[in-house]
């Protein structure tokens, strides 16, 4: 009895709260179906839904459909996520578990790199990448992820690794495991939820990272979804319906990834069993 009422109140609270958070999304879908003249009206839903905002938006460019841009972006994301997940854990293990000279110094540097606003390093970085001949390729966008995936994720994983009791390492050591063995057999499985978090965030944030994309990608053949979306907004010519429709479509991969990947990060280690 008690638990059923508890469950119902839980669901009630959560659905009301979800609806509140989703209200803007509903507004967004409505707006994406409106004619331009109708957008200024306070109504949520259009009088006649313009589904062609979606089809026209999808095919706005004579050269490529959005499928091409989605393909490009997913390809870039594949690199980013692989790079981030692969290397962030390695580096975090080094910082979080191992003793070595100047560890504190390097860790401070790692944190400091996050504190300098990117706006002032973007130009020297562009000059560097330009000299290397990497402009108009995905390398400047993807490569940095292979170097630890960024300070944010390294620090995140360090915190998770430090939350794992050392008894486990000690036990493994007695069994003859090296530091490498401990990493692969103990730490890596235990931080799986955090790694999924890294993967999701890497995916979502690089999807959003318009400023870097606009700098480094110049030919339409290589455009990402983010770049393609900006094509709808010119100085005096904004295709509102198509813009809203396509930007809605553009966040769908992130939504889907989030929806399905979360079961891994929330499963946690409770079921894996930690002690005994």
């Amino acid at each position: 009895m008690m638990t059923i009422r508890y469950k119902i109140s839980n669901h009630l609270f959560l659905s009301v709260f979800s609806l509140l958070m989703l209200y803007p999304v509903i507004w967004w879908i409505g707006a994406s179906l409106k004619k331009t003249e109708e957008l200024r009206l306070p109504t949520i839903w259009p009088s006649i839904p313009m589904w062609e905002n979606y089809s026209n938006g999808w095919n706005f460019s004579a050269d490529y459909s959005f499928a091409h841009f989605f393909g490009n972006t997913l390809l870039m994301e594949l690199g980013n996520v692989t790079g981030g997940v692969l290397t962030a854990a390695i580096v975090a293990y080094g910082f979080g578990r191992l003793q070595f000279k100047l560890r504190g110094f390097w860790f401070s540097i790692l944190l400091l790199t996050m504190m300098l606003p990117g706006q002032v390093t973007v130009v020297p970085q562009y000059i560097l990448f330009n000299k290397l001949g990497w402009v108009d390729s995905y390398i400047p966008l993807v490569l940095p992820h292979f170097f630890g995936g960024g300070a944010f994720f390294i620090f995140l994983l360090v915190q998770f690794i430090r939350g794992i009791p050392r008894d486990l390492d000690e036990a493994a050591k007695i069994d003859g495991s090296s530091v490498y063995g401990i990493f692969f057999r103990i730490i890596l499985p235990l931080i799986k939820p955090a790694l999924v978090t890294v993967a999701i965030f890497t995916f979502i944030w690089s999807w959003d990272d318009f400023f870097a994309q606009v700098l480094y990608i110049s030919s339409i053949d290589k455009f990402t979804v983010g770049l393609a979306l900006r094509m709808f907004i010119d100085q005096f010519d904004i295709q509102w319906g198509q813009l809203l429709a396509m930007s809605f479509v553009s966040i769908m991969p992130s939504v889907i990834i989030f929806l399905f990947a979360q079961k891994y990060f929330v499963e946690g280690i409770a079921t894996t069993g930690l002690k005994g």
Binding site: W28, M115, Q119
Partner: protein, 320 residues
């Protein structure tokens, strides 16, 4: 910089205490340590260090981007501290933003994460719905949306009018504009929440079960299990929240453009406009390095304070 030293000292001294290992062993872990951090270290030395050093050099120059930089010594710094009212203004706007939005977001996202950590049916849908606003963060739609909510004729004022309250143009009123940006920032609590969620799930259920056996109530469990076990993650969210909020940019850039009358002219926006709109990259670089020092000092304080409240399982349970 000394801060991270203190962060890493605890396990170090402990290791020294627990066993006097052979020197050879130490060299081995030295090597292993560098092997593990190598991906980052190589990337840092090859890709990151040069642009950072460049920006430091540029902070002592006049650099329009369109012409080669000209060395001007400490002029930029002197001008910033002596003559620039906008610097003071944007710094204070940013401080207010950080002071309010960081605790607010931490509190809110922890609360939601706890509500969402239960295992009930359909939870993944709720989680996704609640995470949704954070996904549209940088999207173009968010500016239009925020105007719809907080404009003079927006939904907020419509609701207020039911209670006979005459609203203001929240985004265009110099007294409330920053508040709406803080609210937007809090509304997009998704990533902080997800990290809390992952942290919560890492807490062994056994701890709660044995506490239940001991007759502990919900509040007691929260205080003596959840909070300490979650403290590393909370510390992470706090440190990153501070670092990130000092660089807050997107919402001010796309919604208010820093206005009205500079009331939302956050530091990063000021810096961006100096660099790319007013062709003063040298000056902007100096601004960036000043921000770096401010944030570094605050982060150092954070690390120092963490010794008193952050609990690392790996340190054997007690942080000192």
């Amino acid at each position: 910089m000394g801060t991270a030293e203190t962060l890493t000292q605890a396990p170090h001294t402990k290791a020294a205490r627990t066993s006097l290992r052979k020197r050879k062993n130490k060299e081995e872990t030295n090597l292993a340590g560098y092997i593990f951090i190598a991906p980052w270290l190589i990337g840092f030395l090859l890709l990151t260090l040069w642009p950072i050093a460049q920006s430091f050099y540029l902070s002592f120059t006049e650099y329009s981007l369109l012409e080669a930089p000209v060395w001007t010594g400490t002029d930029n710094y002197a001008n910033i501290f002596r003559n620039d009212d906008t610097f003071t203004k944007s710094l204070s706007v940013t401080f207010i933003f950080v002071l309010i939005s960081v605790p607010l977001k931490l509190f809110f996202s922890l609360l939601v994460a706890m509500a969402l950590s239960k295992n009930i049916r359909g939870m993944n849908v709720y989680r996704t719905a609640i995470y949704f606003p954070s996904l549209i963060g940088g999207s173009i739609a968010v500016a239009a949306l925020w105007r719809n909510m907080f404009g003079l004729e927006g939904y907020v004022n419509q609701v207020l009018s039911w209670f006979g309250i005459q609203g203001v143009g929240w985004i265009t009123n110099p007294d409330t504009a920053l508040g709406t940006l803080i609210l937007l920032n809090t509304w997009q609590f998704g990533s902080t929440m997800v990290i809390f969620l992952a942290g919560l799930k890492q807490i062994p259920q056994e701890l709660y079960e044995s506490a239940s056996v001991d007759g502990a109530g919900r509040f007691r469990k929260f205080v003596s299990i959840t909070l300490p076990m979650l403290s590393p993650v909370m510390f992470f969210n706090l440190v990153l929240g501070v670092i990130g909020s000092f660089q807050t940019f997107t919402s001010a850039f796309i919604i208010t453009k820093g206005g009205p009358i500079n009331s939302t002219y956050v530091y990063a926006l000021f810096l961006y406009e100096k660099a790319f709109k007013h062709y003063q990259m040298g000056y902007a670089s100096a601004l960036a390095w000043i921000l770096l020092v401010i944030v570094a000092v605050l982060t150092a304080l954070n690390f120092l304070a963490s010794r008193y409240w952050v609990f690392y399982e790996s340190d054997g349970g007690r942080a000192k």
